[in-house]
Symmetry: D3
Subunit: 129 residues, 6 copies
């Protein structure tokens, strides 16, 4: 099983990421993904930097919508860890049970119609090329 | 190559779907997916009914956001037809080039972190189970 | 672009596979997949041996049904080459347009419900474990 | 964890689906997928309607073969829930251990050859376009 | 649950594969994949033959590198069984924790950039066609 | 179609990435992926930074092996653009036709056995957990 590095066991480089993560998210909890990535500090640092920026910094897409998009990808790929943690994040940002249901309906529909388009080998319309 | 059924060649059952689609979308253009699904009218009818409802009827998720979610799935599955047509639909509903760029960044990130979670076999935290 | 090895250019080892393929399928046409795999004769030989056995030898699953299963996987993975060639093979074995439509409906449905089960993280029922 | 709605806790709209499902399948057991989808009644209703029609109504593809196709997709996508429940459904409709073994061999082969076609970027033969 | 065939319960055909596997790998342990495939002896035999050849026989790619490639695919497809067993095999052949971290970084990157190329529908450059 | 930004049309921020890329790779050619990502400069910068680091900086995995791993993922996901460009990169670093053939054999095998493990729902052996 993958070793999960607790704050106490971690070296300074890893602790710096944990500290920034807890400060940024205003929490004292570091979830398991980061404790696993701590096995390879460069990946830990790069991944946290990107998550912080892409999911968190100001932009044209609303923070809750970013979570919905993240969940859509994770459900399509069947990443249980990512579905569980980002569903929680989305709920914390205001996702209702109804909204999750609508999200699942869209994700299910797209996964279906993607295959109908594949199977019938539908050529892209001239106007959408 | 899959036969694409034009309005003129289509039977009444298929024309009824084309008519509803053009009326609902306020257009005189039927795109190739539907002309391909016309090879199997029950699938044409069911798929249109679902797309009309899931993508179009009032709900908690904004119509533009629904398109972003749809694109996220289609990019993950690499369905070129779906990416092309729904990117056009999203632009028609207000998606800017910047917004598309942010969407791609989130989709890319989730596809990456899904694999980091898989590869390190990260157990779901007790609190997110 | 991948080099496609014609019969004339191929070495004896490759020609032996082409010969067996044409004899087994009662045709004088070798399709492009094999001409591409000829770049690596061991893969050509192993793949042809397996296709011949798994798709062709007597068993409990009907030859046409084997093609339907093969198409279902290829549509899910979006392998255009495999969809095109095995749809032709299935039609040669009796697949009607209606049957292809039903197949696409099932493939679309499964791709959808797979995601509903993922997204809702549905636990396997005690009785199906 | 996703809430699973028992018959007793469910509202009338959900109970109506459970009733139809039990009647159609001649069982008194409602499996977990439906109890999870009950969190979003419109998705529950639409999904059951489609499963009932696509998997159950008369057509050109045999009911057992429909299950084999459904399993092929679910194995390719690695949906454990769907593999477990539809393998049970297939066995109830007559799938032998030998037949399941042949199915897995075809699914494995197609997943392999899909990648050989991708990797060698094999162009679709003129005659199969 | 899938029946796992122990050596003692297995028939001669299955035992012959187990014997060859233990001899080839210089171990007295047969892992669960093979005990499951024993449910369909032809698949057991064919799969073992291929694993023995493709992963084990002399060639231009180093045995440890073969394991890294195998893991890259398994992580992309999220096959937990394959990730677990081949990570162990790779460690036995010399994979360090740092090397695994670098592998995960590459796999994550490729899964991300694959989607950026899809989403932007980037045409293959003339010189790489 | 996605707009591809030539060096001349690009703004300074984009040109800085193109310059670094050409210097790092010792070439005067910028391939289409970067010209497409130039539509969203932050994604262009972050992606180039990561590709430069993960694929190029010193580490325990050999540069050619990194390309093989990248190709393995891209073939599994069927990203034609990535297969085409990274196969060229791998050849430039010494990949022979034989080595590519062995790579495809491993990728095909893993994609197959991933599904056999899924389909038979093989439990991870105690010792590999």
């Amino acid at each position: 099983m993958t070793r999960l590095h607790s704050y106490e066991e971690a070296n300074e480089r890893v602790q710096a990421v944990y500290d920034d993560l807890m400060r940024t998210r205003n929490t004292d909890y570091v979830n398991n993904l980061w404790k696993a990535l701590a096995n390879h500090p460069p990946t830990l640092e790069r991944t946290w930097e990107r998550v912080k920026t892409i999911m968190g910094q100001p932009g044209e897409i609303d923070p809750l919508v970013r979570e919905l998009i993240y969940i859509a990808v994770s459900v399509t790929n069947n990443c249980e860890y990512c579905i569980a943690t980002h569903s929680a994040a989305a709920r914390a940002k205001g996702m209702s049970e109804e909204m999750f249901g609508e999200l699942m309906a869209i994700v299910g529909l797209a996964n279906e119609t993607n295959r109908l388009a594949n199977g019938y080998r539908v050529p892209v319309d001239e106007k959408y090329r």
